[in-house]
Symmetry: C2
Subunit: 420 residues, 2 copies
């Protein structure tokens, strides 16, 4: 926003103030483009903490929030199986929508969401994926700028402790969209599709689940091939032993949890004494470890691999990967660091670009780059990975869409790339 | 060899004293189990240097060497397209055989080699692959020991400057076995098969070639799935921009060549002024940069990723990867370093286990662990990767064999694992 005129703030509500969703609250509260006016959650502790912290209305159900005429847009971070239902509900009430990854847990749900948004004339953005972020957009920008020649290959590798974090019961249910393929797959897939142009031809991969007491998959490895022949290798192992953080020279064998905490979680998951719900409530808003709600969370002076992992983008005359302050760009003259204003992938200290995308689409009539169809194509890849693992064969895709033609003209990278 | 009796030395000859083959000479010369008695090479400079350095007979052709009755065994490191022919020739003359990777460039050739060895009653070991090395054997040992539970996944990633090193004309010919898939593929495939048990079910992958002036593929990424469902992701990018060395905290963006040397090679390959043959002759035996022949080469105090790359082996309760002095073993109590007596993957300062395997098989009647059939199964995976790339589909395999049942009883790891 370069205008000095008063900003027309969009009134937004959040549906599902979970650990992930609450990450958005400080951003919404701080953004001049938004007024955070309401939130809905089934947990009383969370509603109380939300009202106290943000002086906004708290509802016990999504339906009540959607009926609130003051709310113009919603951020949907309810459990995955409700994404389609809450999206359709919000659309029916004329609310514009950002829905977190995974957009849905079946293509049928995704189609219903797209249809509802079209029918009721609201914007729909599947969000909370790295395809919005400066790092991934800059990778795409450089890979398509010609500086390093044509894009040739993508490799994204994550080893995290994601599987050892506290979960609700439904979060650990694969049939409800629990586990690494549904919840982390969209991160790597979305980024690969943004960088690779969107059109994945086929997927071959494997999903793994092996931690006793954790009833959801915690691993996948996948080979994707784009229509133009570019391959992408995507891997996420969330069991928390080796960690991708170790691949940075200043990184150690620790991500979110200490070795001691991980050992305790594993042991108690195994012997049945781990109280997931209680642990989850502690890290929620209003809990005594509600770290996500704190703007200090993830405040680091250098980039560290997150759950997204380490991405290496190969072009004909060079490679690109994340660096302490942005990206390393490797070319014939060695490597240079491309500093990015917002070098981190996601987090409270970085404006969330899906919010800006929604704002500009609703208020300024700009395009939605990450459309419902785009999100459904990412979902299709994740579902194909699961199917490939189950049927032990390559899965061809049929719902892929290309990156928006004006994608690189979004203003997010204007500071770093003057022509963006 | 724990006996104090005089060792019965096996008289060995080398066919093809190229840059790779000459790496073996100091080892053969130093090993009590071998007498290096002859070598064959078409390059006069090499024959002269070989005779001077090792006081051994030098022949201009493989046939002459094979007719030498003193030679009992041969190490075949001739160009890849001659591997089958020289193997059959050596077998016909009753010589035991180690043949470098790739064993051959077609399954038909591989079958002819196996048949010849059987017909003439000689031992045949496809060698020069990391499956022999302490690091890979120890990974397998730990992964199958039960310490970390069942093996679940394999990931081997290499970014090297392999494509920028000097080559003969035939080495850059894909149809003669040139390029990364034939020449580097066997390293990762062999290691994955040793660790994973040998039986690969299918391969899906992509082969890439994009450096102007380098007429052979320099990239692959592949998804393998073993019969038991364990997936393996294998990647090698030899174009020399990002390098896997950077993943070690003490590593930098340099492998074999400096940034300046790489830039010159790329530029001169592109404008046609690069004289590959002349550059190759300089690094051969007798050339002024014959670094491979020096025992000092690769003498490092800490492990660094070689062309083989970084391997991460995932088990149910932990991961394993290479470390400065051996392996990092990650488990519930964090990570420990398993020191290995020979921590490096391959190189002159490390006894080459394929030599010991041949010696013990010929002289002591012990089994050949890496049989012709084993080597052909590794070759089949590499060929399937190439086919998968060309036909853009998953390729099922039909020539796979399991790891030798006594594999873990080979004495190589006895010092580290008392029960080995």
């Amino acid at each position: 926003m370069t205008s000095t005129a008063p900003i027309r703030a969009l009134k937004i509500g959040i549906i599902g103030i979970g650990v992930g969703g609450s990450e958005m609250l400080p951003i919404m509260a701080a953004a001049a483009e938004f007024d955070l006016v309401a939130g809905a959650d089934i947990v009383p502790q969370v509603r109380e903490a939300f009202t106290a912290a943000y002086h906004a209305k708290a509802y016990a159900t999504a339906e009540e929030l959607c009926k609130d005429p003051e709310v113009e847009a919603v951020w949907i971070s309810s459990p995955n199986r409700f994404h389609w239902e809450h999206t359709v509900l919000a659309a029916q009430h004329g609310k514009h929508i950002i829905v977190e990854k995974p957009m849905a847990i079946s293509l049928k749900e995704g189609e219903a969401m797209i249809e509802a948004a079209a029918k009721y004339g609201v914007k729909l953005i599947p969000g909370h994926t790295p395809g919005f972020t400066p790092a991934v957009r800059a990778m795409r920008h450089i890979a398509h700028s010609g500086e390093l020649g044509p894009l040739q290959a993508i490799n994204i590798t994550a080893y995290s402790d994601w599987m050892l974090r506290a979960r609700t019961k439904e979060e650990t249910d694969f049939s409800q969209g629990g586990g690494i393929p549904y919840r982390q797959g969209p991160h790597q897939v979305d980024a690969a599709r943004v960088i690779g142009g969107g059109l994945v031809r086929s997927v071959r991969g494997s999903v793994g689940q092996w931690l006793p007491g954790r009833t959801m998959p915690g691993f996948y490895s996948a080979y994707l091939e784009f229509e133009n022949g570019v391959p992408a290798i995507l891997t996420h192992n969330g069991y928390g032993y080796f960690l991708t953080t170790e691949f940075m020279p200043y990184g150690a064998n620790q991500q979110m949890l200490t070795t001691e905490a991980k050992r305790e979680v594993r042991q108690r998951l195994g012997d049945g004494t781990w109280d997931d719900e209680a642990a989850k409530n502690r890290i929620r808003m209003g809990g005594d470890q509600a770290y996500y709600a704190s703007p200090e969370f993830k405040k680091k002076d250098r980039w560290m691999p997150s759950d997204f992992g380490v991405a290496i983008i190969t072009c004909e005359r060079g490679d690109i990967r994340q660096s302490p302050n942005g990206l390393y760009v490797y070319g014939d003259d060695g490597l240079r660091e491309q500093t990015l204003t917002y070098g981190r992938l996601m987090g409270p200290i970085e404006p969330r670009v899906e919010l800006l995308e929604l704002y500009e689409a609703v208020v300024e009539g700009k395009p939605v780059y990450h459309t419902g169809e785009w999100g459904m194509a990412t979902l299709e890849v994740c579902l194909a990975l699961i199917q490939s693992s189950q049927e032990r064969r390559e899965i061809k895709l049929s719902h892929q869409v290309p990156t928006h033609p004006d994608y690189d003209n979004a203003p997010i990278l204007a500071k770093e790339f003057g022509d963006a």
